[in-house]
Amino acid sequence: MKRKVSPAWSLGGKQKVAVIVVAVLAGFGLGFEVAHLFGGSIAYWGVVSGPFLLTLRVALPATLLAGVAGIASGYVLAKGRFPGRNLLETVGSLPIILPPTVIGYYLLEALSPGTPVGGFVTRVVGHELVYNVTGCIICSTVAAYPFCLRAARASIEGVDPRIEQAARTMGLPSWRVALVVTLPLARRGIAAGLTIGCARALGEYGATLMVGGDINGKTRTLSLAILDSFTTPERNAMLLILVLMGITAMTGVGLLGRTRT
C-alpha cells in the first residue's frame, strides 16, 4: 500500500525553517505591496521597516525562550508526581487571564533598577532590563509562555504510556525516552502551542508598552507603532502587514504540524 505523505514532511529541518521565514517575509512583502497600491506612492518603507524588524527581533527569541521553558516545565508537570502540580500550572498560566497592564506592572517591579527586586536582578544580570529590547523580549516571553506550557503538558500527557514503557524495556534511559519517544509523539500539540505563543509574542502590547516604553527606533514594535500612527496613511500598511503576516505564518506552521497520513 502506498502511503500518502504530507509534502511538508518530506522537507529537512533547515528547509522547514526556510518555509516559515519565506512565509513571514511573503506576508510582509504582500502587505507592503498591497498597501503601496492602495496608498499611492507614499514611501512606507522607512516608517514600517523599523517596527517590523524590531517585532521579529523581539518575537522570535521570545518564542524560542517560551518554547524551551514551556516544553521543559510542561514535561515536568506531565510526568512529575508531586503535590501542587496544578497550582504551579495555574501560576504559570496567569499571563493568559491577567490584564497585560497588571503583567507589565509586576514586570516593572521585578526588573526596574529602582525597586529592591529589580535592583538585585539588574546587578546580577549586569545591565538594565527596562526601556530596551531585552525588556520587550521578557514581556513577550512571559506572554507566550503559558500557551507553550499548557499545550506541551496536555500533549505530553496524551502520549500512550505503553509506548514509553516499551522504550524503557528497550534499555533507553529516561532522558532518551523523552527525546526519542515522548516529545516526537507530542509534537503536534507542542507545535500548536508554539504557534499560538508566537502569535501572542508578535502582538504583545500592554506589558511591552509599560516595560519597553514605546521609544521610537528602540522599543516601538509594530503593535505599538500602529497606535502611534493611527491617523496617518502608514497605519494601513502596518495593519495589512500584521494581518497577512499572521495568515502566511499560521499557514506555514500549520503545514509543518501535519503528521504522516
Binding site: 514503557q165 516499551a166 524503557r168 528497550m170 534499555g171 504522516r260
Partner: protein, 240 residues
C-alpha cells in the same frame, strides 16, 4: 547453576490480590491461566514497570527487586526484552529504527543497524525494515516486536500474549517462529497466554495461574528436541 529467573512477589490492586512464587531455570516458561489471573501483572512486576508490595525478583542471579532492602532496579537497567500484545512499536520510527534502538551492544549507529537487520532477517521481516509500524499487518508487527525484544541480547525475554490479537493462521505460523528464534538464541523467556494449544506448542514448562496464585506446574513433553543453533540451552535444563 544460577536460575534465569526467581520470582516471589505479592501485589494488591483494588480487590485483586496477587501472590506468586516460581523459578525458571532456562528455556521458555509459560504463565497459563484465565484472563484476570494476574499473569500480565506478574510480567510487569518482573519488568519493573510496577513495583510489588512485597517480595523479590532475581534475573540471572542478580537482584532487581527486593522490597525489604528497598532495591528496585529501573526497567531500562534490567536487561530484559519485552514483546507486547499488539507490538507497541514506536509509531513514528521505522521498523529498523525500532529494532536498532533496542540494540544495547556497543559500536556506532551503523553497527547497531546492521545487528538490527540481522535480527529482522532471523524473524523473516527483512523486507519491512523501512516500513512504519502503522502500515504493518498484525503478524508483521509481532515479527518486528520479536526482533526488537531479542536484539539487545537480553538476559530474559518477556512475551505478554504476543499472539492473542492475530487470526488463527498467522498465530500458528508465529508460534513456531517464536519457539525457534528464542530457543536458537538461547535466551530464557517467560510467555503469558490463556491459549492451551499455544502454551503446549511454545513452552518448555507451563506454570498454571488462577486468581492471583500459582496452582500447578508441569513440563512439556517433546518427542524430539527442537533444532538448535549457536548457544541454545539444553532442553533438560527445565526445572520440575
Amino acid at each position: 547453576m544460577t536460575a534465569a529467573l526467581e520470582v516471589a512477589v505479592a501485589r494488591r490492586i483494588g480487590e485483586f490480590d496477587l501472590d506468586v512464587a516460581f523459578t525458571v531455570e532456562s528455556g521458555i516458561a509459560v504463565l497459563f491461566g484465565p484472563s484476570g489471573a494476574g499473569k500480565s501483572l506478574t510480567l510487569s512486576l518482573i519488568a519493573g514497570l510496577i513495583r510489588p508490595d512485597t517480595g523479590t525478583v532475581l534475573i540471572n542471579g542478580r537482584t532487581v527487586t527486593d522490597c525489604a532492602r528497598r532495591i528496585h532496579v529501573s526497567t531500562q537497567d534490567r536487561r530484559i526484552g519485552m514483546v507486547f500484545q499488539d507490538g507497541v512499536l514506536l509509531p513514528h520510527r521505522s521498523v529498523l529504527d525500532n529494532v536498532a534502538l533496542a540494540v544495547r551492544q556497543g559500536g556506532g549507529r551503523r553497527e547497531r543497524r546492521a545487528i538490527a537487520r540481522s535480527w529482522l532477517e532471523r524473524v523473516g521481516a527483512e523486507g519491512l525494515a523501512d516500513r512504519r509500524p502503522g502500515s504493518l499487518s498484525g503478524g508483521q508487527r509481532q515479527r518486528a516486536a520479536l526482533a526488537r525484544g531479542l536484539a539487545g541480547e537480553p538476559a530474559l525475554v518477556l512475551l505478554d500474549e504476543p499472539l492473542s490479537a492475530l487470526d488463527s493462521a498467522v498465530r500458528a505460523e508465529l508460534r513456531q517462529l517464536i519457539r525457534e528464534v528464542i530457543v536458537s538464541s538461547g535466551v530464557p523467556a517467560v510467555l503469558v497466554t490463556h491459549d492451551a494449544e499455544e502454551a503446549e506448542e511454545i513452552g518448555d514448562e507451563i506454570i498454571v495461574y488462577d486468581d492471583g496464585r500459582v496452582v500447578g506446574r508441569r513440563s512439556v513433553e517433546r518427542p524430539t528436541p527442537p533444532r538448535t543453533r549457536g548457544n541454545a540451552p539444553p532442553e533438560s535444563g527445565v526445572s520440575p
